[in-house]
Symmetry: C2
Subunit: 195 residues, 2 copies
Amino acid sequence: MSSARPRRLAPEERRRQLVKTGLELLAEHPLDALSTDEVARRAGISRGLLFHYFASKRDYHQAVVRAACTELLDRTAPPPGAGARASLHAMTSGFVDYVREHRQLYLTLVRGASAGDPAVQEVVDETRQELAERVLAFHRHTGHPAPPRLALTARAWTAFAEEAVVSWPTDEPGAREELLDYLESHLLKLIGPAD
Amino acid sequence: MSSARPRRLAPEERRRQLVKTGLELLAEHPLDALSTDEVARRAGISRGLLFHYFASKRDYHQAVVRAACTELLDRTAPPPGAGARASLHAMTSGFVDYVREHRQLYLTLVRGASAGDPAVQEVVDETRQELAERVLAFHRHTGHPAPPRLALTARAWTAFAEEAVVSWPTDEPGAREELLDYLESHLLKLIGPAD
């Protein structure tokens, strides 16, 4: 789809286009195989022009990963004024739907990002921490007394949820609803009030 | 410690020595920075001789990762004839002690291995699956009816436990015992009999 002369885009629009192209490529390749040559080619610009918008390959990779993580966080955010259960449901359904729609990209990020560049690892780590904060916010909403090590459990539950979502069979009827119910009920087992 | 002439070692002994050197280096560097030059230098042999024992760098990396995973599995194995709770305790204490002793190596493996080489990823994945099988064996021991999705929960719990062990504060008195109790009680919340 590249043309001989690059179409003129405003700088912010060009940055967004390049990040979007990176997200598409990340759905096919691991992060360390994300080539700026290929990105520039798909965007119909020179590699030199790409580095006009991003200081380095690392800077570009970080921008792509940040875009993916921002989308995940946007989609898992509690709706304004939502109560405890509605916030929890917004989080689990946003998370599950994101992974179902972007499975390969998600695997690249959670399984791959952490190995490489510390700047990228930091973005992924912050995102996990944000999800854990949502669990803590849900718990505050419930008004239950906090069990010991709640913050650590919230964080470990995000790892539990990642694994469960990725391993869940996708081809069964009702899979999405059962998975949401599974994630919510197992979180409540972990942080709900003691019997 | 290298000498001008390599000491003669039987092939199996030499392989073990090279794998051990790799494990030491993995405690300092991520897997993709594990240099066969450096390993050969530390072992006092030529790089060419290293490739007499391992078909390729990838083959060598896989052998090192396999050795680390084998140690982890050995240390988490149930003692012969142990009952349910003793098997569970053997698993959690072996896991916690392994990570406390080899923290950097463990982080390299669980956070790093999965990004790179599929052969290495497979070894790490098999190890996680083995740990999940131990959880299932524990559950069978209890004689409780299996909750839905037990196998998936066992697997997701290993991700939960990895995160909890890595994030647990190490400098508090009694940290090890509290962590063991935490892991066991949270597993029981997830797979214990429903109220």
